[in-house]
Subunit: 308 residues, 4 copies
């Protein structure tokens, strides 16, 4: 099945709607000034065939999509027991930045894809690599998966740090429960940088190719980024927890493991077939790209792809 | 792949552990007196090949597994908008019988597989069929799917009714929010009866065969029980919400859509391949069969099956 | 100090505002049809001097003010330990009809003045007196304190029963936690009747006279309704828990133990001085009489009375 | 009534129990190393008569009792509307350091005596005085009220700062809601210092003498520390919110406005009569001095004092 016409058809159908509804994330200036009319798609199959449409090659702030990369790093360096001792694998049933669940559950975040969970993963990475090392390791991993250099947008990272009171609250709260080993500043420095990764849909579809290839490196197939079993588990976490408090809605309507970011990007994985990335900045109330979801719905409807 | 040896191997491996850990549901006498040592498995492929092992043919109280059947009935008779107006599709992040979420969200249950959601579905069915009609329609559907008569265990239904204070609380609570149209007694009569369906693993694997067959009737393939799209959506709901507050754990460890009941049964679906049912009464703290989960883990490990 | 001019002055000042703001309770027809313009005050000193102004002699539905009488009955017949085993003495920090706190605290209501707590008190009374006996004992107590017959408004009681889904939810919820001994129907019959007591400000000020007289009977001073210590404790509970989730505001602005009802009545106690009752049906968002609070503020401002 | 024998009698009765039950606060070393056997009492009447017993003259860390002083400072310099815009006056119904309420109520603390509320008060003081100025103004006020210099225990303040992750979480959380105007570090510096005030029971009973004297300065009666109305309101807040999630229990059992600290001190006020301070380090589960409460109960029982 040639998927280029599918992507082109989606862009043709949705371009007139770009920017019409939803609200671009505005909690930091660097995100608030993005045009709501951007629309990009890109996919890459297991076999390495790549397609893109619209602004698929335009880099943007991947924000929470980076949580998949940091989880991957953590899974590569920590055994299962160690990793999941301080982070759960359950949907939270609350907003991505809620502290209520933390208070009721002893400071243990429900999963690695809510902010608190990603901060806990960052703490694990600081323990393994140190503060500077964790940032370097993340860039190295993502650049290697892309086959080209990927960098942090330092202006975005600085802006996140300057306004990230709720994330500071969360990290201190977990630390108060004894769930964070390193200094709050070091952990959040890593966290704020990971949020500031700047990538295009093309790069995301390529870099996260190991999730549709049973863990195999997207560019060097004989090398495992993670094991087959780990790749499946990351996909499972994306499906149950990857899109904030709308994971059920995504599973129901789209039926693919997805991870979204407030920059307006969403990555979806169809195991053994392809990885797909979409980008449209305006968000719905749950914090997921509004038109991105429509694009994914049209994609699964036109291709019949679904894990179910 | 011949799956009979897989089932036999699982029974051989787990039989020595049957009843060793966990706790049989004891909130009603009819469940409390079940031997913790029962162990049964059964599966049926899309093509109709059936296997079973242990006490796969022994009937037991399916309890919440019946929520899949009542949701199916509701989907057949209500349009999407009407059905989901009063019931969500998100994981709850709380115990299956929590009232907290209802209070914070205006009496709208998070999904059709927590108790509150199933009670809301029962209310929809009473509106469509009447009280007696809803029970009759449920038996008719399940019997037709099984190809043999299925009945309610009236002693269990009476026992549920006599002790179901929390379910009465939930139904009254939702009614206070204007989310229940019919009399509380009528709605709960249907709900308590559906919990009292008595079926074996063999029957469950057969009856829920439409979920691995894109909605096609398990015995009459040219007939759709629900549409392909609806079957996928039921599977999605099972994966994100089917096992109480352990759906993430199930997705992570087992990777198949599952629905459990406190009778100790669990049904799992591998789309386009098979439907599988396991039964072992002792439960873990989340209310899911302890050995049932181990059996499912062994099954996916031995067969490599997973939606991810 | 002659208090008649104080009451007259308050009525003169507030009469023009009667009915202008707030919202009459409308969850049952019998309350919804009350004119918002009623305004009544009455007080009775420790020495037995009585004053009234406006519609002080007009009976109305006392609703939750009755919780003081049922608590008094329970304190007379149960020892402290027995009584407080299932009911707390802390402010709830949530709305009067919330179920959240019950779920987190094992079905034990925070205090006897939120609905759940009053239902728990009613259960204790049914255990002591039986269902019919509890209602009879309540009428006997209140009539004796008033020195004239007081009755239930059966239409209000029936209306409460017909629409009291949330109270039914609460009672079943507590029963599910094992915190209610008697049948839900019997307990709620007592509760719905107590809410339907019909009394005037004059009667309330007289009947609750024992709270400003260290427990001494308002009409027969040598007889204790409750002990001095018990009277103080009821006053303490009124101050910390008597006005739903606005007890802090009342303590701060008015500085007297108060108990309010959604019929628009509020009773206030100045120990060793007087008991005061006000009535104005329109309520604020917390469920307390809007003008009733203003009347109490003016009263304490003009008299300088305060427990603080 | 000569109160010296009352204090002596309480010390005689309780000294044998000192240190037997409860747990000294151990979250910072400076508190953890305090002997659990300290026991002190002191009171001062409206007329200026002072009594003490046991270690009444021994200074200790007043911790949260200081929240009364900072609230007093804020009331002196801000009008009512300005002060209560960001802080409520209701009991919280939760632990003193809970973040749940903040999340549900937009970052506005329920009252000035829970930690979040005191941090919000500190923010107001920093706006009025600046960071250094706020600390200086607090010392000046307390020293003036005592008639002798009072200082911060800098070791305790440093220790609070080094381990105060939950307070840092709270302050950042409120700042994220736009409820804190100044830098988190400045606000917490003031807050951690106020917790580290070091005073004896004798000093506390003297300094808080304005609360039993309708606001009049304890040493210079013609001068108002706060107005009569403000003094009553502080007393009201102490009664409804001064002892964490045990305010109802205190009102019920003791019947006086009280403010406690985790250093083991409790101050109680009987308006128009006296201010009383007790000190015994071991705490109950709510964080209030265990023996301190017993001492207060004995005091009110022996003297018959109560606001109710």
């Amino acid at each position: 099945m040639d998927l280029q016409p599918v992507l082109d058809g989606i862009v043709a159908a949705l371009a007139p709607l770009a920017g019409a509804e939803g609200k671009v994330a505005d909690y930091i200036p660097a995100l608030a000034c993005i045009s709501p009319q951007h629309l990009g798609l890109a996919l890459r199959t297991c076999e390495g065939a790549a397609s893109q449409a619209g602004e698929g090659a335009q880099p943007f702030s991947v924000q929470s999509i980076s949580k998949v990369f940091t989880l991957t790093l953590a899974m590569r360096h920590l055994d299962e027991r160690e990793l999941w001792q301080r982070i759960g694998v359950e949907p939270s049933g609350t907003a991505f930045n809620s502290l209520v669940q933390l208070e009721f559950e002893g400071g243990k975040p429900r999963n690695p894809f809510i902010n608190a969970g990603a901060i806990a993963v960052a703490d694990r990475l600081v323990s393994v690599y140190g503060q500077a090392g964790a940032k370097a390791a993340l860039l190295a991993l993502v650049s290697d998966l892309c086959g080209e250099p990927v960098v942090f947008d330092e202006a975005v990272a600085a802006s996140e740090a300057a306004t990230g009171f709720r994330n500071m609250a969360m990290c201190n709260f977990m630390k108060g429960f004894g769930q964070i080993d390193n200094a709050v500043e070091a952990v959040l420095d890593v966290y704020f940088h990971q949020c500031a990764l700047r990538m295009s849909c093309v790069q995301l579809a390529r870099a996260l190719g190991y999730l549709c290839r049973d863990g195999a490196h997207p560019l060097r197939g004989s090398e495992q980024v993670v094991s087959e079993r780990q790749a499946r588990r990351i996909n499972a976490l994306m499906l149950t927890c990857g899109t904030y408090d709308a994971a059920g809605e995504f599973a129901y309507r789209i039926g693919l493991p997805c991870k979204s970011g407030v920059g307006g990007g969403i990555v979806a994985v169809m195991p053994d077939r392809l990885t797909l990335a979409v980008w449209s900045p305006p968000l719905d109330e749950a914090g997921n790209s509004l038109l991105g979801q429509v694009a994914l719905e049209q994609f699964v409807s036109r291709t019949g792809l679904s894990v179910f």
